[in-house]
Amino acid sequence: MQAITVSQLSKAFGPVQAVRDLSFGADFGKVTGFLGPNGAGKTTTLRMLLGLVRADRGTGRLAGPAGAVLEAAAFHPGRTARVHLLSMCQAAGWPTRRVEQTLTQVDLLAVAARRVGGFSLGMRQRLAIASALLGDPPIMILDEPANGLDPAGMRWLRELLRAMAAEGRSVLLSSHVLTEIDQIADDVVIIENGRLVAQGSKAELTAGASLEEAFLRLTGGTR
């Protein structure tokens, strides 16, 4: 069974057709890169998968609970990192010991009692990742998670996601930073204007060339 099955998903916001008849899948045990130019419909698709946005047509199915890191993750500036994670655990019914565990995992334990308003972009991103890890989910969905992370943080995230896939989890990772996906993904899904352009293993799609070349060729971005 696939971890994520998107079939014939469509969504319009007013006159803008964000996602059109989109179908793809993602497997357990793999990191799937979800690529597309800005405005291709990546964020809308991920939000439909997570139940935050209602699809006009089609379905997005998850074969288990998913943790999510969404783009520009925001927090209440007056609450501490620990309170944020604790309130999520209580809402979802996850064991509250996960708060300290994930704080340790993302290396925020030392600042857990500080208000999030004083956090740097990178610290917020780590807190968002901790929020996604809280429920120990078999599926991870990340929308541009590298935003705000420094090189060391990006490497740390890459290793974390690779390790999660190695444990048999499914990781769906959207990005427009191709080198980032090139380094981590097993499979690649490419969309443009809300439509599927290509799907397959990275090796198949690139056929020996770089992911960047393959991406530009497939999305018509070559000149």
Partner: protein
């Protein structure tokens, strides 16, 4: 779920600021009212204690913050990710911000009003109690809680924090006051008029109010109506 909301509620400074302001505000109004009393009739003594209902403004704002602060800081995304059953999130907000925090603010208001009234009435040498006080305080408590629930609904519907507070302030503080005083036949049916009936606010018989046993259900009806709208809106909305 409710514990999660209580965690957020108690960890946020604005909660405590609003509760403290409610206490101070009620006490000040009580003193002002006692100072202006000319004859210490039972009705006038009661009117001092009726200021416990002035806390409604703060429980209303706290209720509004329940949902609008989630939208404002985009934490609504986390809330709905942790609990995809949105109606449960809304229900937990009603319980935590409406019932529990509403009761808390009502208790602060009742205590500070009673304390201020005792001191002020004592200083003026008036009797400290009169008949019907329990009903005044009960009515103030019920209406403070109901206002908090109305606030939760309003916040869920309007979402923009400043706009929701401005609408609530304009309606409940100005428009309703004018209706109650100038168009009592209409005014007695609006939430503020119904709330006044709960505390038997009718100084010198100048107001036309519903009897409390109708006013209470009328107020509750507004809360239920707005609650249904908030439910429909919250469960359908796209969180982008």
């Amino acid at each position: 779920m409710i514990r999660s909301e209580l965690t957020k509620l108690t960890a946020t400074r604005s909660t405590w600021v609003l509760a403290a302001m409610a206490g101070v505000f009620c006490a000040l109004w009580t003193v002002v009212v006692v100072v202006t009393i000319e004859q210490p009739s039972g009705e006038h003594i009661r009117s001092a204690y009726q200021n416990a209902q002035q806390a409604f403004l703060f429980s209303l704002i706290l209720g509004i913050l329940a949902m609008t602060s989630e939208y404002r800081h985009q934490t609504i995304t986390w809330s709905f990710l942790a609990s995809p059953h949105r109606q449960r999130v809304l229900l937990a907000k009603f319980t935590a911000y409406g019932l529990i925090a509403g009761l808390g603010i009502a208790a602060v208001a009742a205590c500070s009003t009673a304390a201020a009234a005792t001191v002020a009435l004592g200083v003026r040498g008036f009797p400290l109690t009169s008949a019907g006080l329990p009903r005044v305080l009960l009515g103030a408590t019920v209406s403070t809680v109901l206002y908090a629930m109305l606030g939760v609904c309003l916040g869920a519907l309007i979402r923009h924090q400043a706009a929701a507070i401005a609408v609530a302030f304009g309606w409940f503080y100005y428009a309703e006051y004018l209706l109650v005083w100038l168009l009592p036949e209409v005014g007695k049916w609006v939430p503020g008029g119904a709330a006044k009936s709960l505390i038997g606010f009718n100084l010198n018989g100048t107001l036309t109010l519903l009897p409390a046993w109708i006013g209470g259900p009328v107020f509750l009806g507004y809360a239920v109506l707005l609650g249904v709208a908030a439910y429909a809106f919250t469960t359908r909305r796209d969180i982008t």
